[in-house]
């Protein structure tokens, strides 16, 4: 029975996929660190929401997704986008407002999308992606594509009316969608204790007669296990589920956050539960990787980031005369 004591991830995935998951998590981390640095250097306009500390949730939740599957993402969406394999260069280019960016410089970080890889887009409206995800699942069911949609949203979003309406419709129509709540304990400054009248957000699943589960969102394997099951259920036509990944954003909400609503102690405690360190440790302890592999992974990621930054920096800005392209179909080259 040794194998059943092994973490789910080690049992469920080939080595290659496990290494790939770790590689992605590292890439997300380095990507965001580089974005942060670019931001500090004034290369990036506007605001930016970093998911540093939440990488296991993004990558773990996408493990069983196939090419045809969709995700909807949030304002804190870089990880989701990279988890689905987005191009780093086009992402940086978007942050730099370049024509080569995913949104041709018109969207920025808050609207990053990668429609070809099934990412229907980050959303600047908290809760805005929830009904859209349900719509995507409705399409899949009607058109018989077999696609599953994973809908990411935050703990703060769970108090929007859109959450309620979306989960209810997904449930009555038994749609193939998985609601993944990334509960990082705060919606901006408001803790879930203060904002949300229930202990675990997953308990709200019962109000829609769907399964709900709360997992350690910094444990890659736990996330993957819960979401894989939910995806399988959706794929089998059994309807939606709600999975709550308990995690933490190690950075402030956005650049202007002074962290007045939480303690340094709390942040430090969570830093100790770093999902990347944990996954790496697990892979080493199960012989999937060796201690020495980390340096190589880091190095690889750093090189990719450098190349991507160079691509973005050297890319052209959109033309001012083309500011109003893409408002309607047929306006703007494609």
């Amino acid at each position: 029975m040794a194998s059943s004591n092994m973490p789910y991830a080690v049992r469920a995935y080939e080595r290659r996929r496990l290494a790939d998951a770790l590689r992605k998590m590292i890439l997300i981390r380095k990507f965001e660190e580089a974005a942060e640095a670019s931001y500090m250097r004034g290369l990036i306009h506007g605001t930016m929401h970093l998911s540093i500390g939440q990488e296991a949730s993004a990558v773990g939740s996408c493990m069983s997704l196939e090419e045809r599957d969709k995700i909807t993402s949030t304002h804190r969406g870089h990880g989701h986008c990279l988890a689905r394999g987005a191009d780093l260069g086009r992402m940086f280019a978007e942050f730099f407002g370049k024509e080569t960016g995913y949104c041709r410089g018109r969207g920025g970080s808050m609207h990053i999308a990668d429609v070809e890889r099934g990412n229907l887009g980050a959303n600047g409206i908290v809760g805005g992606g929830l009904p859209i995800a349900v719509g995507s699942a409705l399409s899949a069911k009607r058109l018989g594509t077999g696609a599953v949609t994973v809908c990411f949203f935050g703990d703060g979003a769970n108090n929007e009316g859109a959450f309620h309406e979306s989960l209810n419709m997904a449930a009555i129509w038994k749609l193939p969608v998985v609601f993944v709540c990334e509960n990082n304990l705060y919606g901006m400054s408001m803790s879930t204790d203060r904002s949300t009248a229930v202990g675990n957000i997953s308990e709200r699943a019962a109000a829609y007669s769907m399964p709900g589960a709360t997992v350690d969102g910094n444990d890659f394997s736990a996330v993957a296990e819960a979401v894989d099951a939910a995806v399988a259920r959706a794929r089998a036509g059994e309807g939606p589920s709600l999975v709550e990944n308990m995690t933490y954003r190690l950075r402030g909400h956005s650049r202007s956050d002074r962290n007045r609503y939480r303690t340094k102690q709390e942040i430090d405690d969570w830093a100790k539960r770093d999902p990347i360190t944990r996954l790496f440790g697990m892979l080493v302890s199960h012989g999937v990787m060796a201690e020495g592999d980390m340096a190589e992974l880091d190095g690889d990621a750093a090189r990719k980031i450098d190349d991507a930054l160079a691509f973005a920096a050297s890319s052209p800005d959109p033309k001012v005369e083309e500011a109003a392209f893409y408002v309607y179909a047929g306006s703007g080259a494609r």
């Binding site: 969709k70 909807t72 960016g101 995913y102 949104c103 041709r104 410089g105 018109r106 969207g107 609207h111 999308a113 429609v115 070809e116 229907l120 887009g121 959303n123 600047g124 409206i125 805005g128 929830l130 009904p131 859209i132 995800a133 349900v134 719509g135 995507s136 699942a137 409705l138 399409s139 899949a140 009607r142 058109l143 594509t145 009316g161 859109a162 309620h164 309406e165 979306s166 209810n168 419709m169 009555i172 109003a324 392209f325 893409y326 408002v327 309607y328 179909a329 047929g330 703007g332 494609r334």
Partner: protein, 336 residues
């Protein structure tokens, strides 16, 4: 598309014309689905979907719970991923519940994503006063959506246009909002058979005159036409333009008429301030047609007041035919 099927037949009501458009679209394209509250077995609050439920079943005529924000959002998400949803609001007033999805999502997604996505959704809004349903069920809020780039907004006034504009809307790759005046549902007119499209963005010059230009929307186009007949008997000959589309607006048709007549009156049911007449007036006042204006531009719009319940009060707060007559006479006779 369906070629030579333009034979004229018995009249259809506006509601029947819409139903026929839905039927044709559903028949030719599996991806077209209807969504909305009580559009199934109930047939819709205004009996527009009627028995399409019987014909196409619950998979394609989808009753939604009373969840306007979510329902609209589901239609939008479905439109992004391969379906062609036509979403019915039970009353246009309830658009207020779904503005987030309509404006922040449907209208902007193509742009925000740099053209990477299309949102071919159609939304239908039964609008306007005159049914005694009071302030929360009688509004004309098309100006809100007319102010939003990324949307197209139309207001058919005849059964023929109701069908043709809806068929255009369903084919359109962008979100199209259709405001249908509730008092029009039972009005009848000739409706060509089969599939045809009335182009979005083209006004209809319904009547040709020379004394003044009346630009009107929705039911006011009918009232204006009828007033124009009476005016003609009094020697005043109006160009009557049924705007049909308020985003985009058919600038040229309006300007050409004003250059000819030198006098402009806008007639609309929405609240006067910041209503569609404000835009028409401003569009003319900033154009070369300004030099042809011989008199101030008159706006006849709704009163600065929610729609009251009492029937006499209700009538008094939106333009009626006698108001149009009087305003037109005053304009032509230089009495303003």
């Amino acid at each position: 598309m369906s070629g030579r099927s333009e034979r004229v037949r018995g009249k259809l009501s506006y509601a029947e014309a819409i139903r026929e458009a839905l039927d044709i679209a559903m028949d030719r394209d599996e991806r077209v689905v209807l969504m909305g509250e009580d559009i199934g077995v109930y047939g819709g609050a205004f009996q527009v979907t009627g028995d399409l439920f019987g014909k196409y079943g619950p998979e394609r005529v989808i009753d939604t719970p009373i969840s306007e924000l979510g329902g609209a959002g589901v239609a939008i998400g479905a439109a992004m991923t391969g379906l062609r949803p036509v979403f019915e609001f039970q009353f246009s007033d309830f658009a207020a519940l779904a503005m987030e999805q309509i404006v922040n999502q449907a209208a902007k997604l193509r742009y925000m994503l740099g053209g990477a996505v299309s949102v071919p959704v159609v939304m239908r809004f039964p609008a306007g006063s005159g049914t005694g349903a009071a302030a929360q069920h009688s509004q004309s809020i098309e100006a809100w959506l007319g102010h939003v780039p990324g949307l197209k907004v139309v207001q058919p006034s005849t059964p023929e246009d109701a069908k043709g504009l809806l068929l255009s809307a369903i084919e359109d790759p962008d979100p199209v909002m259709i405001f249908e005046h509730k008092l029009l549902y039972k009005t009848k007119g000739h409706v060509p058979r089969g599939h045809y499209e009335t182009p979005i963005g083209e006004a209809a010059l319904r009547r040709i005159g020379h004394s003044l230009t009346i630009v009107a929307t929705s039911i006011m186009a009918r009232k204006s036409l009828s007033a124009a007949e009476e005016l003609a008997r009094q020697g005043i000959h109006a160009d009557v333009i049924d705007l049909r589309s308020i985003r985009p607006i058919d600038r040229e048709t309006v300007l050409a008429s004003v250059r000819k007549t030198g006098r402009l009156m806008c007639v609309y049911e929405g609240v006067k301030t910041l209503g569609i007449g404000a835009e028409i007036s401003a569009m003319v006042a900033e154009s070369d047609a300004f030099d042809f204006l011989e008199a101030p531009i008159v706006r006849l719009g709704g009163a600065e007041c929610p729609i009251p319940y009492n029937p006499e009060l209700e009538k008094s707060v939106v333009p009626q035919e006698p108001d149009i007559l009087e305003a037109a006479r005053n304009l032509v006779q230089g009495r303003i």
